[in-house]
């Protein structure tokens, strides 16, 4: 598991490459009232890359995703998406630009059917144009949802709800998919299944940023990773190097 195959689109993004990052976060700070959650985060995601964010509870991973997707505004610093400054763009417009945020905690619309949940994923006019085709793609990826299309999402199992949330996020036809702890609170067998699905999504070439507490699984599907600690970037390296890193092994793998 220490070997990660770089995504095809990611080849040639070595230092000094001229390619523009898909996402560039620069010196971002964020507060909840007086409480500072982010202390100047700088990171980037290249097109086609899978980047993992790892860190302990309360490190600020969710907050960072919220700033990127426009749910929360950064107090300082900037977020650039496809080269454009999007620091002040509200969440609903970020979706239209191609950033899809699957929040932590399996947040489906409980009293809407699976079908309605998925079609809400394609709410923007950009995504709605190809809704039928995206729906078929999602059902090919998550066949189990096909049998449950007319069931209320709130009545699904935890794993199924997580799949609805991911499929719904993909319905937006994102250029960048932000996944916040997709394995949280799921039984180990279901976690494997969810990661299998994420692997399949990866094959389609979508750029992803994944927050995971499950460090091994998270890093083993990622090209690179950032270790976040109390709102700062502690370490940044390729996944295989992070998995070998003494400090990561001690702090997050208990080795």
């Amino acid at each position: 598991m220490s070997t990660t195959t770089p995504n095809p689109a990611n080849t040639g993004t070595a230092v000094g490459s001229a390619a523009t990052p898909l996402l560039q976060v620069d010196g971002v700070t964020a507060f909840y009232r007086d409480l500072q959650a982010l202390f100047g985060i700088t990171l980037k995601v290249m097109p086609g890359e899978i980047v993992a964010l790892i860190g302990a509870n309360g490190a600020g991973k969710t907050t960072l995703l919220r700033v990127i997707s426009g749910v929360k505004q950064a107090a300082a610093g900037s977020v650039k998406f496809e080269g454009a400054d999007v620091s002040r763009v509200p969440a609903h417009r970020m979706v239209a630009r191609g950033v899809s945020h699957v929040p932590e905690g399996r947040q489906v619309f409980p009293f809407l059917t699976v079908r309605e949940n998925l079609s809400l994923g394609a709410y923007t006019s950009r995504a709605r144009a190809s809704m039928k085709q995206s729906m078929e793609e999602q059902l090919a990826l998550f066949p189990r949802l096909g049998e449950r299309m007319n069931q209320l999402a709130g009545t699904l199992s935890g794993g199924e709800q997580q799949m609805v949330a991911i499929a719904r996020g993909l319905m937006a036809k994102p250029k960048l998919l932000l996944l916040d702890e997709p394995s949280l609170g799921l039984a180990p067998k279901i976690v494997d299944e969810v990661f299998d699905k994420i692997q399949s999504v990866r094959q389609t070439g979508i750029t992803m940023m994944i927050v995971e507490q499950n460090v091994v699984s998270g890093l083993s599907i990622a090209d690179r990773g950032y270790v976040i600690q109390t709102g700062t970037v502690l370490l940044e390296d390729t996944s295989s190097n992070l998995l070998k890193n003494e400090m990561v092994r001690a702090a997050y793998l208990g080795l």
Partner: protein
């Protein structure tokens, strides 16, 4: 058919006719509550404004109230949207207490402004239809004006329900009601949809006000009872469920009508209260409702 049975059926039918208007009023309040989590204590006051709009059209321009109610609805849609932008949106995320103060304040201002402009006099709107003898079949009679407003209200009830279930905006509105945090991540402009829902809910009160005009004496605080009734309806139907509110409206109309028939008119409002307290204490999720917008 025995007399007691015909009396009972007659009371039920009368109740359904009024109940349709109650349903319209309650659905508006439920829509606003579902999408914004704001209890609109000014709902009856907006209804009253709708009645005055229709009355002015009738009094000054001889517009029949059964046409004028459409203009009441339209006027209140725009007015409701402006009130939302000016007064509701700024306190959207504040405490429940703040929201109660705000909507109660709006109600007071509306009632007082109307009183300043039109005085506290009672007005009656007499149209041809209300003077015609009631429509009768077998042992039963139905008031023609009430029958017409029942049909019109029915069209709007079904229309609103279909709009919420089928349209893209309706889907967005239900998404916000069920998970306001996640709705923006779908690309939904929550502020815009909330403003639209508030305006639509107020427009429903305006339509109902216009339709009620021929049946009621008009005076500035005529809407007060309707704020209470709207609460009862929404609580009966399960907070925030617009389908539940439609049924709740019909049930309230029938309950009132049966109460008036057997105990006398003065008991009707008391029964509203009793129903309200019973539902709140026995089944707070409403009689017909799971939580669903």
């Amino acid at each position: 058919m025995p007399r007691f049975l015909t009396d009972f059926i007659q009371a039920c039918m009368d109740g359904l006719l009024t109940g349709a208007l109650y349903a319209l009023i309650g659905m508006g309040l439920a829509l606003i509550f579902g999408v914004m989590r704001i209890v609109n204590f000014a709902h009856g006051a907006f209804l009253m404004v709708g009645m005055y709009v229709s009355w002015v059209l009738f009094d000054k321009f001889q517009v029949n109230p059964y046409i004028g109610f459409l203009i009441s609805g339209l006027f209140l849609f725009v007015f409701g949207y402006l009130v939302y932008r000016a007064l509701i949106q700024p306190i959207r995320d504040r405490s429940d207490f703040m929201q109660i103060l705000m909507t109660t304040g709006i109600a007071l201002i509306l009632v007082d402004s109307v009183q300043l402009k039109f005085g506290a006099d009672y007005h009656q709107t007499i149209i041809d239809l209300t003077n015609r003898p009631p429509f009768s079949f077998g042992a039963f009679t139905l008031n023609r004006a009430a029958l017409l407003s029942f049909v019109i209200a029915g069209v709007f009830i079904v229309g609103l329900q279909q709009f919420v279930v089928r349209s893209r905006t309706g889907q967005a509105l239900r998404a916000i009601a069920q998970n306001r945090e996640v709705a923006p991540l779908m690309g939904i402009n929550v502020t815009m949809i909330q403003g639209f829902s508030f305006a639509l809910g107020i427009a429903m009160a305006g339509l109902a006000g216009g339709l009620l005009l021929p049946a009621l004496y008009l005076f500035p605080s005529v809407g007060e009872d309707y704020t209470l009734k709207a609460f009862v309806i929404v609580v009966l139907g399960g907070m925030g469920s617009i389908e539940g509110a439609a049924i709740g409206g019909l049930v309230l109309g029938m309950t009132e009508s049966i109460t008036s028939a057997y105990l006398g008119q003065q008991w009707a409002l008391a029964v509203d209260f009793i129903l309200f307290l019973l539902v709140l204490s026995l089944k707070p999720s409403g009689i017909f409702g799971r939580q669903r917008a």
